[in-house]
């Protein structure tokens, strides 16, 4: 019983911390984008103010919506994007639920926020939301190939390097850097997979080149069009957390190095150092694949985005997988 409470408490702390960091990163992101456009930009605490404001606004459920689906989906989106963070190891710390799920489960849970967004939009009964939801699902189908190729490649490498260990488990992935188990050709393949995972980022989080599902100026915020008040606040937090979670997944897979191994730290210092280093890595990933790209580019059309993912980036990741296969055969 005591263990159970302890477990719950730990999960709560991780969730609150993750929510805080995700919103903070969102604030930094808005500030950076403003700076890139030669504006002053909002204060870094702006997302917190926005969320606080949305909680005091009236929560409207449209007449032709299905209320229970409409109200449940923002909660599910937020809960599932927070749940991912319980499976991903933060820096040196093993993940809280690492014995209860693996890489495949995480990839599946990461799908739920997009699905929840689309279902909630369909349930809202607005034609704009319906267009947005269809686009969200098209995009989801096109980038999911790439993610599955990455999962296959990672598991393939680990299963050959450590036949006893569970190749899909985050314990294995966290213990050994993936770059150390591959040969030179495999490293080239991994590099391609890393690049394609970065390319999936804007679509996964709905940021600018691929923000087609919630195109503000085109279909009036698309999937979010009918959401207001509390539901919108939940969705905002879900979006911010989703970005943080996906960046953490990329870091856990491709950049698992820790400071404590390099500087031989120990105890609390190692824990804090590793965590700070982990956040820095996550921020770099977010900056490279999310913030910079979204500040520098215009919105793609839905067919352009789908073609880009299904042909070009899927091909890139397939070549990566082939190189890894070649490496294993050599």
């Amino acid at each position: 019983m005591i263990e159970f409470i302890y477990f719950g408490l730990e999960a709560l702390i991780i969730i609150l911390l993750a929510l805080f960091i995700a919103l903070l990163f969102n604030g930094i992101e808005r500030k950076l984008i403003a700076r890139m456009q030669a504006r002053i930009g909002p204060p870094i605490t702006q997302p917190f103010i926005d969320v606080k404001k949305l909680f005091i606004k009236e929560n409207i459920v449209p007449d032709n919506a299905i209320p229970w689906i409409f109200n449940a989906m923002p909660l599910i989106a937020l809960a599932s994007s927070l749940l991912v963070l319980l499976y991903i190891p933060f820096g040196g710390m093993p993940a809280l639920l690492q014995n209860y799920g693996d890489l495949i489960l995480v990839v599946y849970i990461m799908l739920i926020p997009s699905l929840a967004l689309a279902i909630g939009a369909f349930a809202s009964g607005s034609p704009y939301a319906s267009i947005g939801a269809q686009r969200e699902i098209v995009i989801m189908i096109s980038y999911e190939f790439v993610l599955s190729v990455i999962v296959i490649a990672v598991a393939w490498l680990f299963s050959l390097a450590f036949p006893q260990a569970n190749a899909f488990s985050f314990a294995t992935i966290n213990e050994h850097a993936i770059w150390s188990v591959a040969g030179p050709v495999g490293i080239a393949g991994l590099l391609l997979l890393f690049i394609s995972s970065l390319a999936v980022m804007p679509a996964k989080i709905g940021k600018l080149p691929i923000d087609i599902a919630e195109a503000k100026t085109e279909i009036a915020d698309g999937v979010l069009v009918e959401y207001s008040g509390r539901n919108l606040a939940l969705l905002h937090m879900a979006q911010a957390t989703r970005m943080f979670a996906f960046a953490s997944l990329i870091v856990a897979l491709f950049l698992p190095w820790n400071l404590s191994n390099i500087f031989s730290l120990s105890g609390t210092l190692a824990l804090i150092g590793d965590f700070a280093f982990f956040l820095a890595k996550v921020f770099v990933i977010m900056f490279v694949s999310g913030i910079f790209v979204s500040a520098a580019s215009a919105r793609l059309k839905i067919d352009q985005a789908a073609k880009c993912y299904i042909s070009f980036i899927f091909l890139l990741s397939l070549i990566g997988l082939m190189l890894i296969g070649l490496d294993i055969m050599l």
Binding site: I56, K57, N59, Y227, S228
Partner: protein, 144 residues
């Protein structure tokens, strides 16, 4: 109450009820690097459901009446209505035209008027700042 947060994050929905685009372009100008209203947390949103401020331009044509009322009802409480430009405030050069049902305050309660044809972006920002004062009064009423 969290009306303090409302003050620092006003989301604006812009509705054109038959304006000539003069005011609309000045509103867009307020978003540009020169004026940058986002530093005050003011953001232009794409749908009335997200809005705190309804920014109306134009003298309200007969066709727009129904839509104006509908959009006004779609904005969640607490909300503020700001009218930008002479047309929306008084009818302007279209005063007493046969095809108008405006000005805006005949149809919905208006909190702030920003006169001008078109008003400068500074005036629009000042108008939205006046909207804060209305929210301030609402807060005082709540506290009493």
């Amino acid at each position: 109450m969290g009306l303090d947060a409302l003050k620092k994050s006003l989301w604006v929905f812009h509705l054109n009820t038959g304006s000539c685009n003069g005011c609309d372009i000045e509103i867009i100008a307020a978003l540009t690097p020169r004026y940058d209203v986002e530093r005050f947390g003011i953001k232009l949103v794409g749908t009335p459901r997200h809005a705190d401020v309804l920014l109306i331009t134009g003298p309200v044509t007969r066709k727009m009446k129904k839509r104006l009322l509908r959009v006004y009802e779609q904005v969640p409480e607490p909300k503020v209505v700001v009218v930008v430009g002479n047309c929306g405030s008084t009818g302007g050069v279209f005063y007493e035209s046969y095809n108008l049902v405006g000005p805006v305050d005949k149809l919905i309660p208006v909190d702030v008027y920003v006169p001008g044809c078109p008003p400068r972006p500074e005036a629009i920002i000042a108008g939205i700042a006046k909207a804060w004062e209305k929210l301030e009064r609402m807060r005082e009423k709540n506290e009493r």
